[in-house]
Symmetry: C2
Subunit: 596 residues, 2 copies
C-alpha cells in the first residue's frame, strides 16, 4: 500500500527532493541540473548597475545575510518515509568545483517606479561550470526579488557557502497585489515592529503593506492640520510623526514593498475626528448596543461615524486626507467604507432630517451622498486611484452608483461568492476573504461581560453537535483560526470566467488588532502570511501535475519559518521541530496526494 | 433601563471603584477605608526577619519594581458609563499626609519548606495615620505573596508613590495547587523564557510550574546515566543541563513557585529512550496511521511507547527517574500515564506474547502491569508522591487497581464529569479540563497534508450549521480558543458533595507545545493564566453577592496585562487599548450582572 502511494507522488521525489533548498514562494519556473552543489565565495564580486541605491542596498542586505547566517536548511524535502525500514536522511552531494566568484545583475529599466503593475519579473542563472551567478530583471523591483531568491538558495553545507547548480529560474508573480494588512487603530504597533513586518513581506516576495492607520478606538497620526486629533492617540508614545511615516514608506520601498494607507471613512470614525469637531461624528457617545441589537450603533465598541449630511464634515476630511496623501508615495489610497451602521445616524439630526425631507430616500442614498461628496475630494490628488471595502458596493446599505474607474474593491465576506459578484459588476477586486485570510480569527471574542462563556458542561454532548464553547466559534465571529493550509488552499477564482478572473488584482491578508500589538503582531502574521505569499506569487498547484502542492509546501514553509526567525522576524512554530527533520512524518495522510 | 442596571451593581461602584488599584488575584478579604491615598517614600525602610535570603531577595525584587516602574494603573475600575452625558474619569483624591516610611514584615515559621500545603496566607495593613505598612505571614511563602500584593497597590500618582489607605488585607489561597504547564518535548523553550513564565506565575500568585520535560518528539535533558538520550534533542543548543534545571528550580523557589517535573511514561515515549535501547520502545518506527484509524499507533506523530512487558524497560526507567529526581526539590513527581495506544503494542512481541499466553488478559492488565512494576520504583524516593494523568484511572485502557495513597490525578477530559468520577473513586484531583484550561486550543491542527482545509465555500451555508472551516473547530481537537472569561467562569466543583470537593487540590492550565516555542510561549500563556490565578486563589464570585465577578475582573486583568509587560513578561493584549481607559465600554451587555 505504502509503496503504491509513493509511486503516485513520483514528481515530488524526483524534483523537489533532488535539492536541499526550497525557496519560498516557489518560483514560477525553476530547473535544476544534476551536477550538484558548488561552493560560493563569501566575498563574491557583484556587478550591479551603477548609481542605484535600491539595488545596492538590496544586494548588501541579501548578501550580508547569506554570509552572516551561513544558512543550513532546517527542513528539506524528501519523500515520506517508508516505515519498514526506518528512514535515513538524504545524503548530500559533494563535488569539487571552482566555485562561484561573482554575481552579474542586469536591469533594463532602472527608473521604473514602485507602483501597481510595475514589472517584478527576474531570471537567475547558474550555468554549469560557470563562476558567475547571472541575474537579469526588467526593473530594480524584480532584481530585489532575485536577491531574495538567491539569499534563500545560497546555503551552507556546514563548511561554507554552496549553491546547487546548474539552475535556471524564470520568475514573476501571478498577481500584482500581494500583501498583509496591519491595524494601528485598535492597538498601537511601533515603528520597529512595522519594519519587522516589512522584512517578512520582502523575504516572502509580498509587495503590499496595507496600513489601516486609525479606527474608532484611536487616532495615532500626528497632524499639522489638526494637532488635536492625537488627543485620541492612546498615549504620547503611541503616535506616528510625519517622519515616522516617511521612514516606514522609504524602508518599505527599498525592499520592494508598497505602503497602502487606509483611513477608514465614514464608518469606524470617532477618535481624532471628534477632537476636530464633535458635530461631524454621529453616535460617538452612544452605547454600542449589541445587547439590544435592534438599536445597535456599531459592530464593536466604540461607536462613531462621520456625519455624511453635515457640511462641516467634508472640508475637515479633505484637509486630513490631503495631509496624509502627502506622506505616502503610492498612487492608491484606501478610503475604507466598511460596516456603515444606519442606527448610528439616529443620533444625527442632519441625516434624520434629510431622510425625512424626502420619504423615498434610504440609507443607500445616504451612502451614495458620501460617495458623491467625498470621492471627488479623494480623486483630486494627481494619479490617485482608490481602494474601498466591498461594503460600499454590495453591503446593505451601499451606494448604488459607484464608478469602476480607478477603483479597487477589497472583498472580505462570503468568499468566492462576493468576489464573483464584484467581478460580474465590473469592479477590480482585492481578495481578503475572511473565511480564508483573516489572520486574527479564532482567538475568541474580545468583548467583556459575555455570559456565553459561562457554560459548565457541553449541552450538546449527547447529540454530538458543536456549539459555542465546545468545538464551535468560541466568541470569534470569523472562527476558526486560519491555518497555513487553509490559506494556501484557497482557489479564489473558482467558477469565474477568464474575463471575471482578470478583475482579480491580488490578495491581502488582514490582521485586525483588537488583540494585537507589538507583543504578538509578528507571531500572528508569520509564517502564515508566507502561505499567502506563495499562493499569489506562483499559485498553489504543481505546474506539472496540476494538483495542489499544499503537502509539498510543508517542508518549504517549515524551513521558511526558521529563516524568518534567523532574519529577525518573530514567526511562530507550525509544528514540533521533530517534523522539520522528518519530512512528512507529521502528515495526516500517508497518501501524498490527499490534498488535491 | 440603564439606571436600573446600575443600581443592581451597586457593590461594584461602591467597593472596587473607590480605589485606583486592583490587585490580581483579588485578595480573599480586602477592606479599604475612605481617607484616601498617602505618599510612600521611595527609600522606604523595611524591617525583615534576619538571615532569610528568600524574603530579602523577594522584598528587593518587589520594591525595586515599585520604585522603577512608578506604576500608574493602566485600567482602573469604574461603573459602566451612562451615555448621556458622556463619562468622565474618576477624580483622584489628594490629601496631605506624613507618608509611609517603613514596612514591617513578621514571619512565624521561617523554616517552612515550599511544598504542597505550605501555609501561603498573609495579612497586610496600613492603619490610618500610620507611617508603616505591616505585613505578617506564617511562612516566607506567604510573605512573598504579601510583597506581590504590595507591589501592585503601591502606585504612582504621576508625582510619586502613593498607597490608598487605610487598608486591611487578609489573604490566603483557596487551593494549594495553582499552576501552568509548559511542554519542552514538542518544541524547545529556553531557560530565559522559562524564567519569564516563572515571573508571571509569581506576579499572579500562581505557585506551580508543571514542566512536561520530554515527549515522543524530543528528549532535551542531558543525562549522566545515559548521555546518548540527547541524541534525540532537537540540537546541541536545545538541551537542559543539570545546572540549567537546578537554576530554574531555585529561580522558581525564590519566587514561591514549585516545579513539578513530568516524564510522560509509558506512552508518549520514543525520543531519548530509543537511544538507550531501541527494544524498550514499541512502535517507534511505525506510521502513526490516523488515516487508517483502526491501526493508529499514536494520537499524533511520532509514535512510541515504553514496552511494558520488556524486562529491560524497568532498570532504564529507574536510572532515568532517579537521576531526574535528584535535580528537582518537590515531593511530587509527575509520571504521565496519558493516552496509551493499544495498537502500538501490536509492534511488541513481548506484549503480544503475554496477552496470548492468557486469553483473559486485556490491555487493562497491560496497564496494570506498568503500575505494578513502575510505581514501586517511583515511590522509592523519600517523601515521594506521584501525579498521573487521569487516563491511568479511567481511560480505556486503564489500570483497575491503583492506590489513592500519595497520588494526585490530573483530569483533562469531560470537564466536571471526570472530576466527579475521580473524586467519587476517592482520588485527589488536579483540574486541567481541556474545555476550559487548555491554552493551546483553537490554533488549528498542526499536522500537514490535511485535505479538510481545502473547502472553497461553506457547504452548510443554507442550513446555518457550523462545520470544520466555517465556525467549527478548524482542525483544533479542543477548539475553541479559551478566552480569559471562559477560564475564569469555570465552576469545577459543580454538583460535588463537600466530601468530593475536598479531593480537588487545585488546577493547572496546560500549554501543549506543538505550536509553541520561545517565539510565542509568553503571549499564549499571558494574561490568560492570570484569570486562572484568581479563580484558584480567591474564586470567581463576589464574596458579598455570591454572583460571578467576571465582569469585575475586566479592568483588573486589563491592567494586569500592562503590568506583566512592564515586568518583562510578554503578555498579549485582550482588547483595544481604548477599553482600558473606558471601563466597561467594551462589555457585551450594558447590564453589569449579565454573567451570573
Amino acid at each position: 500500500m505504502h509503496v503504491n502511494s509513493l509511486v503516485a507522488v513520483g514528481w515530488l521525489a524526483s524534483a523537489a527532493a533532488a535539492v536541499a533548498v526550497n525557496p519560498l514562494p516557489a518560483p514560477r519556473s525553476i530547473t535544476w541540473g544534476s551536477s550538484g552543489p558548488i561552493s560560493v565565495n563569501d566575498a563574491v564580486f557583484v556587478n550591479l548597475p551603477e548609481n542605484n541605491s535600491v539595488l545596492a542596498q538590496g544586494w548588501q542586505r541579501a548578501w550580508s545575510k547569506v554570509v552572516e547566517l551561513q544558512w543550513v536548511p532546517k527542513a528539506t524535502e524528501a519523500p515520506i518515509a517508508t516505515y519498514e525500514p526506518f528512514p535515513t536522511g538524504t545524503a548530500s552531494k559533494s563535488k569539487r568545483d571552482s566555485g562561484i566568484r561573482s554575481v552579474s545583475v542586469k536591469v533594463s529599466d532602472l527608473g521604473a517606479d514602485l507602483q501597481e503593475d510595475v514589472d517584478e519579473s527576474y531570471t537567475l542563472d547558474v550555468k554549469e561550470g560557470s563562476s558567475t551567478i547571472e541575474i537579469s530583471a526588467e526593473t530594480v523591483w524584480g532584481a530585489l526579488h532575485a536577491f531574495t531568491t538567491l539569499q534563500q538558495i545560497v546555503i551552507s553545507n556546514g563548511n561554507g557557502l554552496i549553491i546547487e547548480q546548474p539552475v535556471h529560474i524564470e520568475d514573476a508573480p501571478i498577481y500584482a497585489w500581494r500583501g498583509i494588512m496591519i491595524d494601528t487603530g485598535r492597538n498601537f504597533i511601533s515603528v520597529p515592529k512595522i519594519k519587522e513586518q516589512i522584512d517578512g513581506l520582502a523575504l516572502s516576495k509580498l509587495n503590499v503593506l496595507h496600513w489601516h492607520l486609525d479606527d474608532s478606538q484611536s487616532w495615532p497620526i500626528q497632524m499639522d492640520s489638526f494637532p488635536e486629533m492625537t488627543k485620541d492617540a492612546f498615549s504620547a508614545a503611541e503616535q506616528f510623526s510625519h517622519d515616522d511615516i516617511i521612514e516606514i514608506v522609504e524602508y518599505a520601498r527599498l525592499r520592494g514593498v508598497r505602503v497602502l494607507p487606509e483611513v477608514d471613512m465614514p464608518g469606524h470614525s470617532a477618535s481624532g475626528w471628534q477632537q476636530v469637531d464633535p458635530s461631524i461624528v454621529a453616535c460617538g457617545h452612544s452605547w454600542w448596543s449589541n445587547d439590544d441589537y435592534a438599536v445597535h450603533t456599531a459592530v464593536e465598541p466604540n461607536p462613531g461615524q462621520l456625519d455624511i449630511l453635515n457640511n462641516k464634515t467634508y472640508p475637515i476630511v479633505e484637509k486630513v486626507y490631503n495631509e496624509l496623501s502627502s506622506l505616502f508615495r503610492d498612487n492608491y489610497f484606501h478610503v475604507g467604507g466598511d460596516e456603515l451602521q444606519p442606527n448610528c445616524y439616529n443620533f444625527s439630526s442632519n441625516v434624520m432630517n434629510w431622510l425625512r425631507a424626502d420619504p423615498s430616500r434610504t440609507f443607500n442614498d445616504v451612502t451614495q451622498y458620501w460617495v458623491d461628496h467625498a470621492f471627488p475630494i479623494f480623486k483630486k490628488v494627481e494619479n490617485r486611484k482608490l481602494v474601498v471595502w466591498e461594503d460600499v458596493i454590495i453591503n446593505d446599505p451601499h451606494a448604488p452608483n459607484v464608478s469602476t474607474e480607478g477603483l479597487l474593491v477589497q472583498s472580505w465576506n462570503n468568499g468566492i461568492a462576493n468576489i464573483a459578484k464584484l467581478a460580474t459588476l465590473g469592479y477590480d477586486v482585492l481578495v481578503s476573504s475572511s473565511d480564508f485570510m483573516y489572520l486574527d480569527c479564532g482567538y475568541g471574542g474580545f468583548v467583556s461581560n459575555d455570559p456565553r462563556y459561562d457554560v459548565q458542561s457541553n449541552p450538546d454532548l449527547a447529540s454530538g453537535l458543536v456549539n459555542f464553547n465546545y468545538g464551535g466559534n468560541g466568541g470569534s465571529w470569523c472562527a476558526p483560526y486560519k491555518t497555513w493550509q487553509r490559506i494556501y488552499d484557497y482557489d479564489f477564482t473558482t467558477n469565474l470566467t477568464d474575463a471575471q478572473a482578470k478583475h482579480i488584482k491580488g490578495a491581502i491578508a488582514p490582521l485586525w488588532s483588537e488583540q494585537v500589538d507589538d507583543s504578538c503582531v509578528s507571531t500572528k502574521l508569520w509564517p502564515r502570511a508566507a502561505a499567502l505569499a506563495e499562493l499569489v506569487w506562483s499559485g498553489n498547484k504543481d505546474p506539472k501535475t496540476g494538483l495542489k502542492r499544499t503537502t509539498d509546501l510543508t517542508q518549504r514553509i517549515l524551513n521558511f519559518r526558521e529563516y524568518l526567525l534567523a532574519n529577525g522576524v518573530q514567526a511562530s512554530p507550525l509544528m514540533s521541530k521533530y517534523c522539520l527533520s522528518h519530512p512528512h512524518a507529521c502528515d495526516l495522510y500517508y497518501n501524498q496526494t490527499a490534498v488535491v
